[in-house]
């Protein structure tokens, strides 16, 4: 038995080897790495062999997959404009296509569009791919794009991207395959915005979403909101060879442990959003593998700058030094996260400022600032809730760290239901939870501009607002990057929002499911897994 794997070897290590191979490490380099880790050459060779076999496996057609998300209710929809829950995203990403697609390396690829171009970032020319048809056989034309985009501007639709669509002041079909989009203000990010799930293309004139007619890899066979949906392969899909699955069934299992059990018992083959606490249990099951991907979501501590005690900059700075970022990642998230530097642009974004270092955990320094703010010994309330992922644990960590330097924090734990309308943005010190957004412009406009709808700490800066508008219309990448870096620094230093960590998402899947890769949009390979995975027999 020369190929026996060491007993403390887990799925995690397998993934490490696979990951290194994927990044292009040679067999020799890997062997050296394993030898250094105390693993013999024969065993090491077997491990590498196993991992390379996995990577080299050819996609296979056929089979049916059952997958479960974590949120599903009667609000489930097939309307891309209204999609809001994880289950919605998975469904619409399988049924429809978008003009552009943001791939696993955060690069823009063309999908239904053949090209998206502009000279001034204000007037955009979109040329559509020819020969694409909807599920009902209707060919894709410019009119479908015009209809799909215009819909978001109607308040009655309740679109998630209404504010982004409203900047498209003119959307016109030039001819059958060309669309002209004029923006009210220049915005160089348009190709990225088009890759959002909500901007998927529906057929001209669609108003009934009890079923769906898209150009995507799967067609709806059954859809029952809050119960389940069954999607079958689109035989006329325009991408060659794809999808690999014949059909897949999707539903939500809201209960964390029920979802985990369904995966471990083999009832479902792919689930999203597992609890970090489950990792050890998952590693012990040879039928199950996990994928952790770090998207841009975070839970942050918000201190309103227009209210006591946040109106004293010393208090805010003190809090940023008192946040134990390492421990947040290590114990609250069991390692499923990355330390963050108090600003909202994630490391996977090309505008991320990697010179901006996170503030270290420094209780003495924090104490010095609290002393100057005159808050030592006073009772200060932190509002936390299950609604903001991991916020209760984070508040308790702060409370403990505070008690050691004479700060008296009280954790006010409030119910998840109604948290976002009753406490968030309102309490002087509270936690927030923000989903990833694809561009710095969206993050800054939504969260930090002086009149931003969700200005969590009431951050006001005319300079910041000016820089935001200036960068938005800029096609010069170098200058734009420079401005965004400076803006991230301003937020990290001056705003009242402390962002301790990026939260990683954990997917779990059966070993038969192949082709699973991380994606910067998080769970379920950015929700578009169905088109990309295949089943090993």
């Amino acid at each position: 038995m020369t190929d026996r794997v060491p007993s403390n070897w887990t799925n995690k290590h397998d993934r490490m080897v696979e990951d290194a191979l994927r990044r292009g490490a040679s067999r020799r380099e890997l062997l050296q790495m394993l030898l250094a880790g105390g693993i013999g050459a024969t065993v090491g060779g077997t491990l590498i062999g196993r991992a390379s076999r996995v990577l080299a496996a050819e996609p296979k057609h056929g089979g049916s997959l059952r997958a479960a998300g974590w949120s599903s209710s009667t609000a489930d929809t097939l309307d891309p404009a209204k999609a809001q829950l994880s289950t919605d995203y998975v469904r619409i990403c399988s049924i429809y296509n978008r003009l552009t697609y943001l791939n696993g390396n955060s690069e823009i690829e063309m999908e239904l569009a053949e090209s998206v171009e502009s000279d001034d970032a204000k007037t955009w020319a979109v040329k559509l791919r020819s020969g694409v048809t909807f599920h009902d056989g209707k060919p894709l034309t410019a009119a479908d794009v015009v209809y799909s985009f215009n819909r978001h501007k109607d308040d009655a639709v309740g679109s998630q991207v209404a504010s982004m669509a409203k900047q498209m002041s003119e959307i016109t079909a030039e001819d059958k395959l060309n669309v002209r989009i004029v923006l009210s203000e220049p915005n160089a990010d348009l190709p990225i915005l088009m890759s959002l799930h909500h901007f998927q293309i529906i057929a001209d004139g669609t108003t009934d979403f009890s079923t769906a007619n898209g150009t995507g890899p799967f067609m709806v066979e059954e859809f029952e909101p809050g119960v389940r949906s069954i999607l079958v392969r689109n035989p006329n899909y325009w991408k060659e060879n794809r999808p690999y699955l014949d059909s897949f069934e999707f539903f939500g299992i809201a209960d964390d442990s029920a979802r985990l059990n369904a995966l471990m018992s083999g009832d479902v083959q792919y689930v999203g959003s597992l609890s970090p606490r489950a990792t050890r249990l998952l590693d012990s099951n040879p039928q199950v593998e996990t994928l952790s991907s770090t998207a841009g979501n975070y839970t942050n501590l918000n201190m309103r700058l227009d209210m006591a005690p946040g109106n004293d900059p010393d208090f805010v700075t003190g809090m940023k030094y008192l946040l134990n970022r390492e421990q947040t990642v290590k114990s609250v998230r069991r390692g499923l996260g990355i330390v963050a530097n108090d600003q909202p642009v994630p490391p996977s974004n090309r505008y991320y400022n990697d010179e901006l270092k996170p503030k270290p955990f420094d209780p003495e320094r924090a104490r010095h600032h609290f002393d100057r703010a005159g808050v030592l010994g006073k009772k200060i309330t932190l509002t936390a809730s299950d609604a903001a992922n991991a916020s209760i644990d984070m508040a308790v960590l702060l409370q403990q760290a505070g008690s050691e330097i004479g700060m008296n924090f009280e954790v006010n734990r409030v119910p998840a239901d109604g948290y976002w309308s009753n406490y968030w943005l309102k309490d002087p010190i509270h936690f927030g939870n923000i989903n990833p957004r694809p561009t710095p412009d969206i993050l800054f406009s939504l969260l930090y501009k002086s009149d931003a709808p969700w200005n969590e700490s009431s951050y006001q800066s005319e300079k910041f607002d000016r820089m935001l508008i200036e960068a938005r219309g800029m096609l010069d990448e170098t200058k734009r990057t420079e401005i965004y870096h400076e803006m991230q620094r301003m937020i990290a230093e001056d705003a009242g929002t402390a962002i301790p960590a990026w939260l990683s998402e954990l997917d779990g899947y059966n070993t038969r499911v192949r082709g699973v890769e991380p994606h910067p949009f998080g769970n379920f390979m950015g929700y578009a897994f169905a088109e990309r995975v295949w089943l090993d027999s």
Partner: protein, 317 residues
């Protein structure tokens, strides 16, 4: 004496109707008190103040509550439950499919638990004080005190994850033959039966013991009737009222209170539907579900009352 029974039954039905009216009022205004509204929740992280205002106007949410209550009550009386705020489908349609699932689950549970509970309860009362009685009592008390989520989660872990005998999820529609029914329903029904039958056993036992202690039961015993005859012919008919009540209470719980079991097994029943509706602030759906639960409860309790009235020997003579 027939008219006396009739009058009492009519009186019960009248009380039920008045209760329904009061409940409808309470349900409507209680849902109004929920924080946030459907526009806010539908928009979620896109809920900027302008977007919420626009959607609210488009959905006619800005009418006064009293006006909406009257039109809702009018619709209710004419059998129109309204249209869901969140997915524009008729509430009646959303409920009907789920209700069928819930009724199926409840029916199977009743079929399993009522006979078991009655047998155990009556026999325990018959042999009161014996070892058998004590075993039944101890087991039913301990089962009552174990929360159903523990029973459900533990049974999933054992039978689905480790042994792999039963599916961890229960989709009622994938039933194909009697064996499948057993497989799909086994775990939810066991979890539910545990809680429900333990209650019924205890109440049945108490009711039968009560009647066995009466003078007429003693008289029957003195006349030399066998224990079996005393229990079945003299005591049981008189204990029917309280037993019917116990069954009604347990069964009414099966419709609305099974949310934990529905959640753990992903069973698409009507309780989960209502929880969804509350979290999305889908008022027409919440109200319809609440009324449905209330009606089911009242019907069962009234039915139990009527059985008690009819089985009352003092009214029969």
């Amino acid at each position: 004496m027939r008219s006396q029974i009739g009058n009492m039954v009519l009186h019960r039905l009248g009380v039920m109707l008045v209760t329904v009216l009061i409940v409808s009022f309470v349900v409507f205004f209680a849902t109004e008190l929920l924080p946030g509204d459907v526009a806010q929740i539908m928009l979620g992280q896109a809920a900027t103040p302008e977007a919420v205002k626009g959607l609210r106007e488009a959905m006619n949410l800005d009418e006064p509550a009293a006006l909406r209550f009257l039109s809702w009550l009018g619709g209710l009386l004419s059998g129109d439950l309204g249209v869901s705020y969140v997915n524009d489908q008729p509430v009646a349609m959303l409920i009907s499919g789920r209700l069928a699932n819930s009724l199926q689950l409840a029916a199977v549970t009743v079929l399993v638990s009522v006979p078991v509970a009655l047998t155990l309860g009556i026999t325990a009362a018959t042999y009161r004080g014996s070892l058998y009685d004590r075993i039944v009592s101890v087991i039913s008390v301990s089962v009552v005190s174990v929360p159903e989520f523990l029973v459900a989660t533990a049974s999933v872990l054992i039978f689905a994850v480790y042994l792999g005998w039963l599916p961890a999820l229960s989709f009622s529609r994938e039933v194909d033959g009697i064996l499948d029914i057993l497989r799909v329903y086994a775990m939810p029904v066991i979890s539910l039966s545990f809680v429900v039958s333990a209650q019924m056993i205890r109440m049945t036992r108490a009711a039968v013991i009560d009647t066995l202690n009466t003078s007429y039961a003693e008289m029957a015993r003195l006349k030399g009737a066998s224990r079996r005859r005393v229990v079945l012919h003299h005591a049981l008919p008189n204990a029917l009222g309280p037993i019917a009540n116990a069954i009604a209470l347990s069964v009414s719980y099966l419709l609305g209170g099974v949310i934990i079991v529905e959640t753990i097994f992903s069973y698409p029943g009507v309780a989960k539907l209502m929880v969804d509706a509350v979290s999305t602030r889908d008022l027409p759906l919440i109200q319809a579900c609440a009324m449905l639960f209330c009606l089911a409860y009242l019907t069962l309790v009234t039915l139990a009352d009527i059985i008690a009235i009819v089985s009352n020997p003092r009214l029969r003579t």
